[in-house]
């Protein structure tokens, strides 16, 4: 399973000295056809922190996220995860990286409609060749943790939006990822459900010491982060935390 990719090191969080950068993007450029989506954006993520990426629509937030997660390859610039450059990996390696080290939550439509919620959560484990029984019992634990164990045997189409997103969060976290990418995770939810999903996501991420890259345009959602980065016209800008 591990074909020259990643072995999980010890969590570098609580050690002395400056916290090590886990995932770093430097001077990313990416264009779709003639229109540039990223024009020198960058971002570094340290273990266990929640970073909000904000900015107006079309500013390149999602493209930055896709590049950092290895879904897209930037035209120029580098993305490093634990000092390994993503562009140096093959497609298969990147897939494995995403499956084992990263987790994903999107705005909608991420659950496989044919599988039950439990099976959806167990899916990434099963792909990592965990036995079905064990995968499903771990999935069940996560559903419980996200307070949606009652929908375990329902299909995503039969759940409410908030429940669906919590199932998605459970699926993103079930593999114990180091980085969770959340792209407008509450975009399709009302305030109350959105708050709940964010609370559960951030709490669970903190408990497992997973970093979260949170793309959102909602300040109240961004407020769950430790710091924020603004993307405007394809360039990113780190906000200095005010003391």
């Amino acid at each position: 399973m591990n074909d020259g990719g990643f072995t999980r090191g010890p969590g570098p969080v609580d050690g002395p000295g400056p916290v090590k950068v886990l995932l770093e993007a430097v001077d990313l450029h990416k264009a779709f056809g003639p229109t540039p989506a990223l024009d020198g954006a960058g971002l570094s993520v340290r273990a266990g922190e929640v970073v909000a990426v904000m900015g107006p629509s079309g500013s390149g937030k999602s493209t930055l996220l896709h590049c950092m997660a290895g879904i897209l390859t930037p035209d120029k610039g580098t993305v490093r995860y634990r000092d390994v450059e993503l562009s140096a990996m093959g497609d298969g390696q990147r897939s494995e990286l995403r499956r084992t080290e990263f987790g994903f939550v999107f705005q909608f439509g991420q659950l496989v409609p044919e599988l039950s919620c439990l099976e959806n959560v167990a899916l990434p484990l099963r792909l990592g060749s965990v036995k079905r029984k064990e995968a499903e019992s771990r999935a069940r634990e996560w559903l419980e943790r996200l307070e949606v164990s009652d929908v375990a045997d329902k299909r995503p189409g039969e759940t409410s939006g908030g429940q669906g997103q919590r199932v998605a969060v459970a699926r993103a976290l079930v593999t114990g990822p180091r980085v969770v990418f959340a792209d407008e995770p509450t975009g399709a939810l009302d305030s109350l459900n959105g708050e709940r999903v964010m609370q559960l996501l951030v709490t669970a991420a903190k408990e497992t010491n997973a970093a979260v890259v949170l793309v959102t345009h909602e300040p109240r959602v961004a407020a769950y982060s430790d710091r924020e980065v603004v993307v405007r016209d394809g360039r990113s800008r780190e906000m200095e935390p005010v003391t």
Binding site: P56, Q199, H217, E218, P219, R220, A222, A223, Y224, S225, D226, E228, V230, R232, R237, M239, E240, P241, V242
Partner: protein, 174 residues
Amino acid sequence: MSIGHTLLGLLEKGPRHGYDLKRAYDERFGQDRPLHYGQVYTTLSRLLRNGLVEEAGVEAGDGPERKRYAITGAGVTDVEHWLGTPEKPEPYLQNTLYAKVVLALLSGRSADDVLDVQRAAHLAAMRELTKRKASGDLADQLICDHALFHLEADLRWLELTAARLGQLKTAVTR
């Protein structure tokens, strides 16, 4: 909002007399609350006392209103500092923030910086409230939510303003 800093900012473009200052202020910032004449002179004399402005000659004629004021070096520094400092995140900030943005634009400073500094401050406040909410009881949560929604409204306004800076710039420097 700080009338003193606003007047200083207006003086950055060149010396004016008191009456001019009142008119310029009312035109740009005083839509619903025009300045009292006396307020202008009280403020100017405070600024004069603190060395932030100086008298720049008297025009022919009599009466105190003929006196012209100019900004001093200390005054410019003071404006700069003021623009660079975020307002304390609290509801109903628009007037001050608007004044800051307009003055930044008028004086050729970066309005983006003004907004970004403010935004960081706002978010820091929101983070604080969010944390407090997580540990507090329901009453706390409701109070925090109220504040959060107001701050969010401000932030949204900031976003919008930032997106419209180009438009605003042509409007204020016309």
